[in-house]
Symmetry: D2
Subunit: 400 residues, 4 copies
């Protein structure tokens, strides 16, 4: 086992059982997410944060081609010479790429060419992996699987944006339940002050940003058992929360005024009643579902209005065993920063997480769009504070 | 014949023979232009000036539905209630619409739905027109036909931009010849000073902006028999014409610097040689073809460099019988302004031309992309001075 | 007399009597315009079109230094090496310069240094001209005088903007009457169709853009004896003219909506009554004064609403002897284009006019802010169609 | 003592000895900072982050008028009714205000009127305070003093930007030494892991963001005794640190490319040698002075290049007794976030700090521009990560 693998393995903890079957399941799940789409839905990019579905299909494929097949498979021929340019996302060290704002301008390669590309790479991996037990390569495959799972969630939220931004408000899938009714509880769990272990330890996969398990001293606090619901959030609207500058960060106040923000993303007020676009089409607001598609700014303002606050990511992690989570990514008060002893992986893989550690907030938990087995108590998701197209929500905290 | 018809007819001169056959031919020609496209090519909008092909298909259909079927056909049911919103282009007086910058964000309606919409409206018109000889309605149909022909040229130039902006530079059609070799001539035709009749007179269709035939006094001038060729334009590049501020308008100089303009649109310099993207794919520059895809600013700077100038639209019209035209839309020095006695048509049709009569330059002639029988000696095309994606070119004039 | 002078003289017609006295009067008049200012008023640039008064003071001085003293006066030492960089306006061929948007960021040179610079250059010119009767140099001095007079009007309108944009709305000068009551007349003067001589001919100074006198054929029209008044313009507001899209150019409609334009510049609606900021401070609208501080777009929309139109610059020139003018620069329908046979002066002076001949509209006449003897029947002023900070107004025309 | 005072005092810890003398000293020190300025220097705003000096003079005065005199002094008459509008900075809850981007467009009130305003308010406070021993009011005065001291540092850095951005590069003051030579040391101080007390405790003034002293667990680390010097930073330039994407955050990489950042602010490369604009004018780089005018992004990239990192604000605070500080504000890796138990002050004073707690980085220490007695070991300064016009620098940390 090479030194290189040791180093990679120290950044991304992995477990390698059933790697091939895990790979094939993941690859086909991505395609299942796209099954309800029309060809046209694969192409558009209504805002810069949203990528066209065919780009996700190609990019996750390029990742395997670039980092594994081209490097390790003898005699491997790339599917198409120009695809690296088209499907590289942000790896500056790998070469030129289509800038993110232009992904929606590309009609070619076509959707069926992208599916051919997927098949070609999946098949190449399949035959390649049957003969390989090099731990270095297997580690990279596992990283590729997790990378693709991350994109599965983005793919679904991007699809929702593409359809929900369309004036025809088409349905994606009649059975996808994004708004499960939750058992309401006004209970808070009290956690004592003390030193808590934070970060990933043990076996299984994790990202480099979770590593470096370390102790954090936390003061006593109480954290809500339930997520904030639509019903509760509507009270904030009724009380004109969006018009009270004292509840908002200065940058948030500028943002809601310049972008004319008055309610969560996908909400529509029609004849005095609130509706929300869901993956099943336009529906009346479901009062008992947890509020979602709000920015950090809105989560913060809501908490201010309640006289409470958001948890830090450490408070969340220390308490997460005492409540249910996974319906909404939960905004925390924590900025996305490196843990003590964090170090970037060498080379291009080092661009995976570290270079985003500024100006973003951490979200914890998971959501109705998160693939199976993709999240865990130490998982650190992160987005800019104004972004709303993920299934984001919030949970409140009180001091003592 | 109603007063209204008289008024409409006085704005748009028409001839109504074979109206139905003309309609059907036009409708299917639009679809033929799209035949080489992949579904994905119908959807994207790489720059604001370019519309997605499916938008052109829908918009030309909406025009017939909105201005004819919905108004005059008893019991007509619109194909879809929301399509007016999606496919209205700029008629403020007709209602809300998708803003132009967002057309490329819409994956729905799908391409096949748009084709169904086309068929529905074409068939409705077909059955409707068999029974109608009302001159008012027939006039509106003729306007609709010419409107669709205008969009056929835009459709082709938009398709060229969509494919030519793609890093894969796909071919549109192996047989479309956009760069015919022209018989070079250095001859100039001299036209004597005098009063010349300008504008449309007589039978047949024309737009309101050509009407109001009137006299213009023109001084003696000489106009080139040939368009400027790629070979001649390359001399301007070699002489560093793009770096000499004295040749350019102030706004042009800002534009070439901020947009890093160094050669015509679609030109690529590869290993010291010039290539151009054409509808047949990337080709070496054809030296004897007329230069194209240049802005007014570039045409003007080129003429300055030659010590000559562009013709006015009046000079062009007075001399056009003495030279061949129709390969390139020819930039003129004239601003797009109303002729004496110009008046807008009443209501929404009045938005057709008049409201664009500021900040644009007139182009005369026609191009390899202009549909048959769509242009004429009095036809006034117009674009903003920096735009290049039409098949634009130039012809020089000398004083005396 | 050198060939060069012949060429310069053919671009700028001049008369050289009393040149020195004319120079000195002009130089001191510029300073008189600034007399009511506080030091701070000389420095700011609230919008890109407005230059700081001290920049005007320096720039008109630099013009004499650069084009005359540095070239022709033996042993002349520039006042300061860096001032050419600071005070060049737009002469690309002369060298680098402070870009226009940054003029208001410069606190140095101070106002008193700029006055020292003025004195230094005026005195140098004074002593130099006593010994010079070279016609070439005297021609350049005359151009410099007219250049400075042009800046005098800009200086005054820029001062008005600087003070009128200040929340304290300070008075500039208690006696400056910008709103003379005009004798109202509803009369129109009818002008017969025919060939009219247009452009400058004869002695005296003119700019290159007026030269090339030529014949223009004009159809019969009637032109109003009076300018449109505030009272008349208020009727347009009352009739919701700013809300009726059919009256406006497409670009105008975008502009009034994005910039929230609802009335002329400097108008304020306070408790249901209209006020206007004037150089004498905030005053009630003077109903019988000619409307001013409107854009071409507003002038055009007003004319549309009246069912009339703006004159072309040729119609204006052909009729100007039959009405009074000089209170407001009168928007015409004409685009700012070269006359037949127009040619740019050689070198940097050629940048004076020609490079602005695109995307601008011609204004004719003069205004309450125009210096004595600075305008004439053939004078062609020009601005972009949305600009309003000059004393612009309009006069109506009817066909026949 | 009212409940309100208790609440205010719990947000801003104060000591009230010699309050009047402290007030008067502070007020005149602000004016001393401006003494070398020309009137024109008080007016301009070259970038949005920099305010015109006269705005600082007025704003610090308005703070006392608005929060103290207008509320507590019987019969107090405001100096001018419109000044609240002109000089309010960002207190949304206090009323309308000149938006920050427009401060440099205001020539009035003049500099001498602003000085009159200062005198009026200082004198009013003077007479008022002689009779007042109400602790609530005295607390507010102390807050006003500290507020003005904060602005003193901004005033000086804004003056530096105004002069250093001027092409004439004028000197501010021949004796101001901003680049003291530091005794170089390559030593690192090692701090053991443990629980450390963070935040303000005890007597004296502090801001609300320092309160809530609390324990933080820190792992073992070593922190440099010296700041990074110009000499050391030049090695980073020589090694093409600005061209190596792997050293930079993704947003930093976009920023250095779009803004063409290649060296610290105020550095100029002339004929192969580096110079820096200082308050004493343009000087050769002083190799042994600590590097300054760098952004967080540059500090981070430099540390990456060294294979080390920036301290967290907690590491800085725990170790600060072992090194000298106060020459440069030291960028930390910490985001500006509320301490546990942080709560905003009620009403407008609550806008002081809390609403900025997103997207900013904490700086610790102080600088050559910090007023006497204005900083302390717990002081938390904060700026956006790309800002460079403060006297910012960096100190390195190694793990273990």
């Amino acid at each position: 086992m090479s030194v290189f693998v040791n180093r990679i393995r120290s950044f991304f903890m992995v477990i390698t059982d059933n790697l091939l079957s895990s790979l094939l399941t993941t690859r086909s799940h991505t395609e299942e997410i796209c099954a309800p789409l029309q060809t046209e839905d694969y192409v558009v990019q209504p805002i810069v944060d949203v990528s066209p579905p065919k780009w996700h299909l190609g990019h996750t494929t390029w990742f395997f081609e670039e980092f594994i097949l081209a490097k390790y498979k003898a005699g491997y021929t790339r599917f198409h010479d120009d695809f690296a340019y088209v499907f590289n996302s942000y790896y500056e060290s790998i070469g030129k790429r289509v800038v993110r704002t232009n992904r929606g301008n590309l009609s070619r390669p076509t959707v069926s060419e992208v599916y051919e590309y997927r098949d070609y790479v999946t098949n190449s991996l399949h035959s390649f992996l049957e003969d390989v037990d090099d731990i270095e390569i297997r580690t990279l495959v596992e990283i590729g699987i997790h990378h693709e799972k991350q994109h599965q969630e983005l793919l679904l939220t991007d699809i929702k944006f593409i359809l929900g931004n369309n004036p025809l408000l088409p349905e994606y899938n009649a059975t996808f339940e994004e708004n499960p009714t939750v058992k309401l509880s006004s209970k808070y769990i009290t956690i004592d002050e003390g030193l808590y272990q934070i970060g990933f330890k043990g076996d299984g996969f994790c990202y480099d940003n979770e590593l470096g398990a370390h102790k954090v001293f936390i003061e006593k606090y109480s954290i809500a058992k339930s997520l904030v619901t639509n019903k509760e959030y509507l009270d904030f609207l009724s009380d004109r929360g969006y018009e009270n500058s004292l509840l908002w960060h200065a940058e948030a106040w500028d943002w809601i005024n310049s972008d004319n923000i008055k309610m969560p993303l996908y909400w529509h007020k029609v004849d005095g009643e609130y509706y929300q676009y869901t993956l099943r089409g336009l529906k009346k607001i479901d009062l008992n579902a947890p509020v979602t598609h709000i920015s950090y700014y809105e989560a913060f303002a809501y908490a201010q209005w309640r006289g409470e606050r958001l948890p830090t990511e450490f408070e969340w992690e220390a308490a997460q065993q005492f409540f249910d989570w996974g319906l909404r990514w939960e905004w925390t008060e924590s900025a996305y920063l490196p843990y003590p002893n964090y170090a970037k992986a060498p080379g291009a893989l080092g661009e995976y997480n570290g270079k985003f550690m500024v100006n973003q907030k951490v979200l914890r938990g998971g959501s109705v769009a998160t693939p199976n087995n993709h999240t865990r108590p130490t998982y650190r998701n992160f987005f800019h504070p104004q972004l709303r197209w993920q299934f984001n929500g919030l949970r409140l905290v009180k001091n003592k």
